[in-house]
């Protein structure tokens, strides 16, 4: 029997070794992921003993504050569903998202810059308080954009950036949700096919359609092979590349035209040819120059920001992955699995409006301790310089033409000259297309850039231009309308 008993002991050793192995994995390897798990509310509870800092809009409208209950501070959001996905929530059960998550160290006063004040406070026996976070969001612009989307009753997103600084003036994702009572509707919010919890502005991947022609045009102009006056001819309304037919939006032949007209009328046949001539590497080079294939450096948690670019089977492809000429031609007109976020498109408009300098987008203007002392102030920083200033100027002229006499007529207003580019991207199924407007204003002295996308838009894709117009007007302090 003794040998069996010994073997039994060896089995015990093996089983216990398994326990220890799993413990090492949990406590050494997986520990950080467990701590960062959004459902891990341990830290949230602990931090609820600290009076969390306020979140303020650019005009100091209070967006997030505290309510004390049983010695714990609970978060309330006076503006309800205003910029809900950007602000995010901080809840003991559901964890933290948005800026509530990424700015947590400041809001709880555990960031290095606030630590000293807190240490002194502890010594003096004062209650510990977090620092206030002031955003760049302009409530006027944010509300206008949100109201415009609501009026239409469609899903979509609007991002407005300051052309010179990259500050986010508005970030709307519709449908939205009320930060004050999402807990009660958790199941429903999660199963809602319209995904109200998703921040469409930074995570929504949309086919850009013709709005992608901004990138194709930038590449075309800088290649030296094309100018706005380059001549093209379209007799059939469609073009055949390697046996595949690419149609114009309405199949109408445009006859003889130049590149600027092809841009303002969004002629697919011409852009397919341009794309074919430029080739895959040139197109991809300019996508990368504008920041595609990487996550824009906004202050949100990284998992709430998606990189734009070509997606194959749900995975971001790498530039240089092999494509055939038809795919390249499709890419030039914003199809072929290219997926972009509204934030990325707004950044492209911002770069063109800013003489080719693409700024780092930011939504946090400043952080102040409770004495009002500014402990961190955003300083605008250039992120990339995708195009030359003269290319930006040429493109601005082409974009003015789009609004004044091309596909972007819906954005035309007598109050200010708007420059832009539209896009109507087929999404398949029996859904309407995604309608884009990407642009800036005033065209001769750009101040604000915008990207608007409306899902399931009307067939001609005219839903987005008026939203862009009125939102840009609001950002410039002008009344809405033509």
């Amino acid at each position: 029997m003794n040998s069996s008993i010994r073997k039994l002991f060896y089995v015990t050793v093996a089983l216990f070794a398994g326990l220890m192995g799993m413990l090492v994995y949990l406590q050494m390897v997986d520990a950080k992921d467990l701590a960062d798990n959004p459902h891990n509310t341990r830290k949230v509870y602990e931090q609820m003993r600290i009076q969390r800092g306020l979140i303020l809009a650019s005009d100091k409208t209070v967006l997030a504050q505290n309510q004390k209950q049983d010695n714990l501070y609970y978060r309330t959001y006076p503006q309800g569903d205003f910029a809900a996905q950007l602000i995010g929530y901080s809840d003991p059960t559901y964890g933290q998202t948005g800026l509530e998550h990424s700015m947590n160290d400041y809001l709880t006063g555990t960031a290095d810059e606030v630590e000293l004040t807190n240490f002194v406070d502890t010594l003096l026996g004062r209650e510990q308080r977090g620092a206030d976070v002031k955003l760049t969001i302009d409530p006027k612009v944010q509300s206008t954009a949100a109201a415009e989307l609501d009026k239409l009753g469609k899903r979509g997103s609007v991002v407005v950036l300051d052309v010179h600084t990259g500050a986010v003036l508005a970030m709307v994702s519709s449908p939205t949700f009320d930060l004050n009572n999402f807990q009660a509707n958790w199941q429903q919010l999660n199963s809602d096919p319209d995904a109200p919890l998703l921040n469409r502005a930074t995570q929504g991947l949309y086919t850009p359609g013709s709005s992608f022609k901004l990138i194709t045009t930038a590449a075309a102009l800088e290649s030296g092979q094309f100018t706005p006056d380059s001549k093209f001819r379209d007799d059939k309304g469609s073009i055949e590349i390697n046996g595949n037919v690419i149609h114009n939006w309405t199949d109408v032949p445009f006859g003889e035209h130049n590149f600027a007209e092809a841009f303002s009328e969004s002629i697919n046949t011409t852009f397919a040819q341009v794309g074919e001539q430029l080739g895959q590497s040139k197109l991809e080079e300019y996508q990368q120059k504008f920041g595609l294939y990487q996550k824009p450096p906004l202050e949100l948690p990284p998992d709430e920001i998606a990189a734009s670019g070509r997606y194959v089977n749900g995975q971001l492809a790498s530039p240089g992955d092999s494509m055939d000429p038809v795919q390249v031609a499709w890419m030039a007109i914003g199809q072929e699995n290219v997926q972009v976020t509204p934030l990325q498109m707004a950044m492209i408009a911002q770069a063109i409006g800013n003489g080719g300098k693409e700024m780092k987008p930011y939504a946090v203007d400043s952080v102040m301790d409770y004495n009002g002392t500014v402990i961190k102030q955003a300083s605008p920083e250039m992120w990339k310089q995708p195009i030359r200033a003269d290319t930006a100027a040429t493109m601005t002229q082409m974009m003015i033409k789009v609004v004044n006499e091309g596909t972007g007529l819906g954005a035309k207003t007598a109050k200010v000259q708007i420059a832009g580019k539209t896009g109507t991207a087929e999404v398949g199924g029996n859904k309407g297309p995604n309608a884009w407007f990407v642009g800036f204003a005033p065209a001769n002295n750009p101040q604000v850039a915008i990207a608007v996308v409306v899902e399931d838009a009307d067939e001609r894709g005219h839903d987005s231009s008026p939203i862009a117009r009125d939102t840009l007007l609001a950002a410039l302090g002008l009344p809405p309308g033509q």
Partner: protein, 427 residues
């Protein structure tokens, strides 16, 4: 000799215990009063008393098991005290009851081999205890394990476990010749005559009935595991573990298909995250707590175990999930030390079995050691998501009167077996 060694072993245990209670007091002085220190002293006093008893009643018994058990119990009471001081008071009373049973067995059952004459009676009592629970027990968390008697809640399964181990030791001891005689082969495995397979099939049936009627995979697995281990020791044949394993796997698969509770447990084991605020909550919170512990833990009393209301974040923290609390506050270092303590406990248990000079003693010691090993593995494995979770207690550490008392009974038997063997050697 053995007792002097035991006393020496008690010294670090006593120091650790006192330091532990002092740490809890220091960390939570705002919430609790200084009585934690008297707990430490009471605890040390109790085990010194048991040591003195051993000097008189079983001087040659193994000198390591009691100090190991004392340390395990101390860790348990310390953690329970840190979670809920009132519960620790109850646990201390249970500990005293356990030590009383321990003393009674050591004093009155010195010739434990007399038990061999009553194995059928003990076996029947063991089965009856389970049957009563099934009929009259109350359901907690979907499993029917508890009985209310007077104001007390007891888990008859814990006593039944020890009684059935004794029964199996006696039964297998008398039948081992028959069970290890090969009369035919099945897929190359040597098989005894079919009629001798009866008990194996009965035991399988009983385990499976337990599973279906009590809704509890853990108890079922524990009983069947003990049975397989003891049959293997008795016969030295892999036939039993192999066939038993196949039978049990079949039963488990069937249970997964037909029993909702089993199905849930397995689904949550595979992916607790999708139901983090529902059925997966307990396990997810356990993993968060363990992850929080890191290498050295948050420190005793400094972990995040309670809501501000005083409720535990992990449901069933002082009972099934006490290991998670230990892993959080004492870290990988402390949790590993605890597992090593159990390993040492089992090692001493198996060693006693090897050294014992009669079949009944060998089987009984091996069965007890195997039951501790399996129970520890099943509950720790469950709370760390190594295997599907089943609610059983962590021996000597979890809060729970039945568990403490029954386990001290089993410990007394192990010590008596070693006392007899060593006395024979000395004499």
């Amino acid at each position: 000799m053995e007792r002097r060694r035991e006393l020496v072993n008690f010294i670090p245990v006593a120091m650790l215990t006192l330091i532990g209670f002092a740490t809890v007091y220091a960390a939570r002085s705002a919430q609790i009063d200084s009585s934690s220190l008297s707990y430490g002293l009471l605890f040390v006093g109790l085990f010194l008393a048991v040591h003195l008893l051993m000097r008189m009643a079983a001087p040659h018994a193994d000198p390591y098991l009691l100090p190991i058990t004392a340390l395990l119990s101390a860790m348990g009471i310390m953690m329970i005290y840190r979670i809920d001081p009132a519960l620790a008071a109850a646990q201390t009373r249970w500990l005293m009851a356990g030590l009383a049973l321990f003393a009674a067995i050591v004093i009155f059952l010195r010739d434990y081999r007399k038990l061999d004459d009553y194995i059928y009676l003990l076996g029947i009592v063991g089965v009856l205890l389970l049957a009563v629970t099934i009929v009259a027990g109350k359901e907690v968390n979907g499993a029917r394990l508890w009985m209310g008697i007077g104001g007390l809640s007891i888990q008859p399964g814990e006593f039944s476990k020890v009684l059935i181990t004794i029964f199996l030791a006696g039964y297998l001891h008398s039948k081992r010749e028959l069970l290890s005689t090969t009369t035919w082969h099945l897929f190359g495995l040597p098989m005894p005559a079919l009629k001798h397979l009866g008990p194996l099939v009965t035991m399988w049936g009983m385990s499976f009935a337990l599973l279906l009627l009590m809704n509890d995979l853990g108890t079922s697995l524990l009983f069947f595991g003990i049975f397989l281990a003891m049959t293997y020791v008795a016969t030295g044949r892999m036939t039993y573990p192999v066939i038993g394993g196949v039978l049990f796997s079949g039963g488990a698969v069937l249970a997964y298909l037909v029993k909702a509770t089993v199905h849930t447990r397995v689904d949550i084991w595979i992916n607790p995250w999708i139901e983090f605020d529902g059925r997966g909550y307990q396990l997810v919170q356990s993993l968060f707590a363990i992850g929080d512990g890191g290498l050295f833990g948050t420190g005793l009393g400094k972990g995040y175990l309670l809501f501000p209301s005083g409720q535990t974040i992990i449901p069933a923290l002082p009972t099934d999930f006490i290991f998670s609390a230990i892993a959080e506050e004492l870290g990988l270092a402390g949790a590993t030390a605890l597992i090593v303590l159990y390993l040492l406990f089992c090692y001493r248990g198996f060693k006693i079995a090897v050294a014992a000079d009669d079949g009944f003693s060998k089987l009984l010691a091996a069965g007890i050691a195997a039951s501790f090993a399996l129970q520890t593995f099943v509950i720790i494995g469950g709370v760390i998501k190594l295997i599907p979770l089943t609610g059983i207690t962590l021996p000597f550490v979890s809060y729970g009167g039945s568990s403490i008392v029954a386990n001290f009974g089993a410990l007394a038997l192990l010590l008596l077996i070693s006392n007899r063997t060593n006395a024979g050697r000395v004499g």
